[in-house]
């Protein structure tokens, strides 16, 4: 198990909370809610240690298109970068809905 933290600048306030996914094999859950300080914060807890650079890469890509001031908690059970991105996009989509 490993815990990682990331932070990104944000432009838009986030108004609601969104939960997607499950901490099941090859999957993850995402809890997204308003951030208190106008920036985006991501905390990742993953069952697979040693992939900090990969996480950063996926999150960099996600935040290149998402500018909400969100506090995001990720609980990961060995998801691939593709699945991580899918869940993040689902959460962003649900936020817009």
């Amino acid at each position: 198990m490993e815990s990682l933290s990331f932070s990104y600048p944000a432009r838009e306030a986030v108004a609601s909370r969104v939960h997607v996914g499950v901490v099941g094999s090859g999957d993850l859950e995402v809890l997204l809610e308003p951030s208190p300080d106008g920036r985006a914060h991501v905390t990742v807890t993953t069952s697979v240690p040693g992939f900090g650079a990969v996480w950063k890469n996926v999150l960099d890509r996600f935040f290149s298109r998402f500018d909400g001031a969100a506090a995001i908690e990720i609980n990961d059970f060995g998801a691939t970068p593709g699945v991580v991105m899918l869940r993040l996009e689902q959460a962003a989509e649900a936020l817009r809905a």
Partner: protein, 274 residues
Amino acid sequence: MRDSFIELRARERARAILDADTFRELLGPFDRMKSPWLPLQGVVTQADDGVVVARGRVDGKPAVVAAIEGAYQGGSIGEVSGAKIAGALELALRDCERGRPVRPVLVLETGGVRLQEANLGLAAIAEIHAAIVALRRHVPVVGVVAGLVGCFGGMSLAAALCSRLIVTRQARLGMNGPEVIEQEAGIAELDSMDGAEVWGLMGGEQRHATGLADVLVEDDVGAIAAQVREAFNTTAPPRSEQVQVFCRRLAGIDPGHPPSPKALRTLWAREGEP
């Protein structure tokens, strides 16, 4: 095309069982009541510990659903997930005792005790059993085993304590999972990889045909929700109280020459059941 219930996650399953737009979750993911024991063992936690408790209505009447997420830790019962189920049932009991009936529904998808929380999982399961027995005197407790994990270990007893048990063909119900039996008693006792054998023993259709489940239903959201509503009209005594019936059935069995699953369907046919 069918609207699969099995493919739904626990939260959506609970929502599907409750009347439209009545779902209100208690202790949801953002309350972050997580397992205190898994992080100590290096295991990632899920924010709701794998159980969704939701209030709402069933057929217009106040209800509570506790649905287990089979995809998280095999639906295993830890301290928190177990306390969520037991606590929900205890509150339903309190309301029933105050003359405000609450319809309880359990959506069971679990391998039983979560081994990393061992004795606290077992204790919670005993408390779930206690709550079902107490609550069942006021209102039917309805169990659903849809399929994905099945329902095993101490929680199979919880299923058997329900006033009414609804299963699909994809459900498996047994005290000991096939892998556990193979491990404990050897492959000569049971080959857990032999699917036909396993389904013949503990599949939903077999359980229904031998009187160990009440309703066999298609894997369809609407059909399952309808059967749950219907189950609250039951007046039949719970199966686990029918001691004489089952003692008589068991006395007729020769363990040296046990019947085949198919033969048991005839021996323990649903017809003539009280």
